[in-house]
Symmetry: C2
Subunit: 361 residues, 2 copies
């Protein structure tokens, strides 16, 4: 006898995995396919954080694809990252085709160090790779009393310029993270398209239709069947405005760094071998270069309170702040582990068997 | 006999005013109400540039309201601007309630100087005022071989947090400007709301309805009559995403600088006397801190070409890049002057008479 999903929306039946176990599993899989142990531990830690924060499409879910890319030779496991350019507040980091997580961790650390001295640090990357959720890197400056900003060229083009049908742009995301005192940090983490491509694929798996406004076909008409997503493209938020944002974030994170943009972007879901030359940018702003930390954090707490106390539209239960849901998820998953879909567990079991390591559970 | 607007959309009958005449007129009006000559010339130059670039709602159109504010004591004509905080790549500038144009010109100059040495310069402002179009300040770094970024807390709240009805947020705009070689710079200049409030007021003047998606009433239902705009509020682009962008740009441009945000924002259309404590932020990024200028500019030209050469959706004539229309308008207005509506001319004539200076025409 099966329990229909609709009757048990909270999926109590999903096994939950402690975050530390998830990190160790990811690390041993990556070590097994040749990644040096210290790097594998770092990537495992960051990927497990993605799951802990609720970015389920950017954590351990990606591990099979990463392994496929590593085995195809599409990732450099012994990279020699180097600073191509450097000034007091900026740097350009060449990731030498390392895992994106390693490149971005290094870039964020650099930006934080520069911000401590110069007030702001801005580090661009080239020859990087997919690095998981934007929000993670914007969050890194938080524990140093800094604001974080992250932009990236997405790892596959799914959007044309406004009015066109050639897919020259990706979902180029932005994340901005701001520390608070007694509230969770405010963390915006968004694609410049109405929906991320992962959400389309999730609906396709479930056999559900997309809402109007997510995608259109090459005829400009709404595309509602997610299984036909190859025939259409994602729409930007706010029409030409979202197109403009995707273009600009792509220039700042890609073109400025000598990374791929436009026709040069490699679709990482279709090509596992080519160097993607992914570009990202991360900035850290030291709050104390503007005002005392306690004053700023109190101000952000007050903004929380103001927004939460707004009168509500009919039918709305609560105002949310960006990052609020992620904070609730984090607290739950730190206490209770990360719930994983049985299909994902099966895929990870197969992966463990394949690379010859202990399974996750 | 009158010619209906619909038959003559290009309004050949509008008088056109050379940009230099516009600048001189603005300067002499501001001088007449007590602004020191050099400051009046600077503000006149910036405001005339707004008109030249096609930002018609942000140029000379605003002069009567600025004069009203100056006369009400809402602007400090003899400001003592000072740097509250400064590091190698950042500064916080207190504008001492000067005209926003003067504060932002100073802030942009500072950011450019810092970027030349440190790679990036980020300058925040407090006790500033409405400064006209965002794009003008993002453009200032261009002629120094730099990328410009500008954000501001808008000068009146027209948007609630997503799901709410208390208007705690403004249209908080962002502008990003990137230099090209043989093409115009790419310049994004956008409000985080679907429509700027000025567009609503323009439709009200013409007695036309708003499209769905611009505003909703306090019941959450579409508000289409622009004359009833006081009963509703603007919608963010992309729903919660635009709310998140408005919130974050407001924090970066306002809260971080100790400027007004949320309930503290003074509605500059209703209150001409109170210190607005407007906050803005401008950043300059020196392209040569990342790659040789010629290489970057060629890359931006190539991006132009890629976007323009995309196949088109049915019914679309041409792909546009952000800033393209403004460049076309600018070229035309430099050659032929700025066309002004007869109603605006009449208002400016009345203003000239009122302050005792020669009329514009």
């Amino acid at each position: 006898m099966t329990t229909p999903n609709t009757a048990r929306p909270h999926a109590d039946s999903k096994p939950s995995v402690p975050i530390a176990d998830l990190q160790r599993f990811i690390s041993r899989v990556l070590t097994a396919v040749g990644m040096p142990g210290e790097d594998a531990a770092t990537v495992g830690g960051i990927m497990a954080q993605a799951d802990a924060r609720g970015a389920d499409a950017h954590g351990v879910f990606r591990l099979p694809a990463y392994v496929k890319r590593i085995r195809a030779g599409g990732i450099n496991l012994h990279p020699d990252m180097r600073l191509v350019e450097e000034r007091a507040a900026t740097a350009l980091l060449d990731g030498d085709n390392a895992m994106g997580h390693l490149v971005m961790k290094r870039a964020a650390d650099l930006a934080i160090g520069k911000a401590r001295r110069a007030g702001i640090g801005w580090v661009g990357t080239r020859h990087s790779n997919h690095a998981g959720p934007a929000g993670l890197y914007a969050r890194m400056p938080l524990e140093h009393g800094m604001i974080g900003i992250y932009m990236a060229v997405g790892s596959a083009n799914h959007m044309p310029p406004w009015g066109g049908i050639d897919m020259l742009l990706s979902t180029n995301p932005i994340a901005i993270a701001v520390p608070a005192a007694n509230r969770p940090p405010i963390v915006l983490d968004m694609a410049t398209t109405t929906a991320a491509y992962g959400k389309v694929k999730a609906l396709a798996q479930r056999g559900q239709a997309m809402p109007e406004g997510w995608m259109v076909g090459r005829d400009g008409k709404p595309l509602l069947d997610p299984k036909r997503s190859d025939e259409g493209f994602l729409l930007p938020i706010g029409g030409p405005k979202g197109y403009g944002l995707a273009l600009m974030f792509g220039i700042l994170a890609g073109a400025l760094n000598g990374a791929a943009f436009g026709r040069d972007v490699v679709d990482f879901n279709k090509d596992y071998k080519s160097v993607t030359n992914t570009g990202q940018a991360v900035a850290a702003i030291d709050v104390t270069a503007f005002m005392p930390m306690a004053q700023f954090e109190a101000c952000i707490d007050d903004i929380w309170t103001q927004m939460k106390s707004s009168e509500l539209l009919p039918g709305v239960e609560e105002i949310r702040l960006p990052g609020e849901q992620s904070a609730i998820t984090y607290e739950d998953r730190v206490a209770n582990g990360v719930p994983l879909h049985p299909e994902l567990i099966a895929a990870l079991d197969a992966l463990a068997l394949d690379v010859g390591v202990h399974a996750l559970l």
